[in-house]
Amino acid sequence: MARGADQVGLGWRGELAAGIFTHLDRIDLVELIADDHFKSSPKQLRPLKLLAAQVPTTLHGVAMGLAGSEPVADFRLLNMRRLIDQLQPDSWSEHLAFVRAGGFEIGHLAAPPRTPTNVAAAVTNIERATRIVGSAPRLENIATLVDPPGSQLSEEDWIRQILEGADAPLLLDLHNLYANARNFGREPKELLLAMPLERVRGVHLSGGVWIDEPAMSGRVAGKRLLDDHIHDVPDDVFDLLEVLAAHAAQPLQVIIERDGEYPDFEVLLAQLDRARAALAKGRERLRVCKTMKAAA
């Protein structure tokens, strides 16, 4: 792998372990869900250390709630630090979400009201996480079925202000971005180009499903796109990856996430190849654009 090149890989899931180990020649990096391994014994971590010795890895947290207005508990940050010490990944990441508040556990990632107050609280959480864990997390945009009540900032402004305040990189989930755009009347490419693309280091690709809105009186029910990770990456999302590669010059680490209804491993490998092809097309557009600018 040339230094500084784009990389394309998969999210580690037990069901995919055999396929991943068998096809490491076609997988540039692997993302591990950190929370699955916080309580693992040294013996249980051995296969992951074996993996990390053969391919670059990144750890992905799912339950800190860094974008919540409440402080994140120390033990959550220390869990990540311990796992990083044990597995020595290239990077770690978490979500721009809240997952609990006022003693209520949502059990999943939720979008907080996008306000200046929330930005300040998120920056404080992320700065503390950076200090305790030892490095800044890549921060991921989440998908949401509801436009957070009380929001005063657009999604892109909210993300930009947090990343700039905490001086943190972006893990840009293109399916999350696509779902939010489609669900809330935005043009996906326009939303993509409004994001702080200069901060993108990692990219997530996944799929979802259109679900019916509940029937409510006086309203025609429509559909919304649910990000579920159990469907193939749609064509539109590969197109967004090409656009991203045409506008963000820095190397990108792209991970395809699949959490269930697993297809043959060859299908996943073909999706990795499609991601590489989209990156290559975007990089060619970027090269042509730079050449034309230089000639002008």
Binding site: G11, I33, V62, G68, S69, E70, H95, A97, F98, R100, A101, G102, G103, F104, E105, I106, G107, H108, L109, A110, P112, P113, T115, T117, N118, A121, I142, T144, L145, V146, D147, P148, P149, G150, N183, I211, E213, P214, M216, R219, R224, L226, D228, H229, I230, E257, D259, G260
Partner: protein, 71 residues
């Protein structure tokens, strides 16, 4: 507006079906009980109720293990 209080109110709607039903049936009662201020109440009065219901259902499915395990 107090970010922590509004997030706590939303977290309860997402985590507690009864709380969501109360909010949908009698929003003013639910908001008063939660101690929301006038700005927070205004935010919730104009909330995307369809989205709130869909999000709450999605989170319930996640908690019950009926959806993809990871975000």
């Amino acid at each position: 507006m107090n970010g922590t209080r509004l997030e706590a109110f939303l977290a309860r709607l997402y985590a507690d079906r009864e709380a969501l039903n109360l909010f949908l049936r009698a929003p003013e009662d639910a908001m008063r009980e939660a101690g929301l201020d006038e700005i927070e109440c205004a935010a919730m009065r104009s909330a995307d109720v369809v989205g709130l219901r869909m999000a709450a259902r999605s989170y319930a499915n996640k908690r019950a293990g009926r959806a993809g395990k990871h975000p």
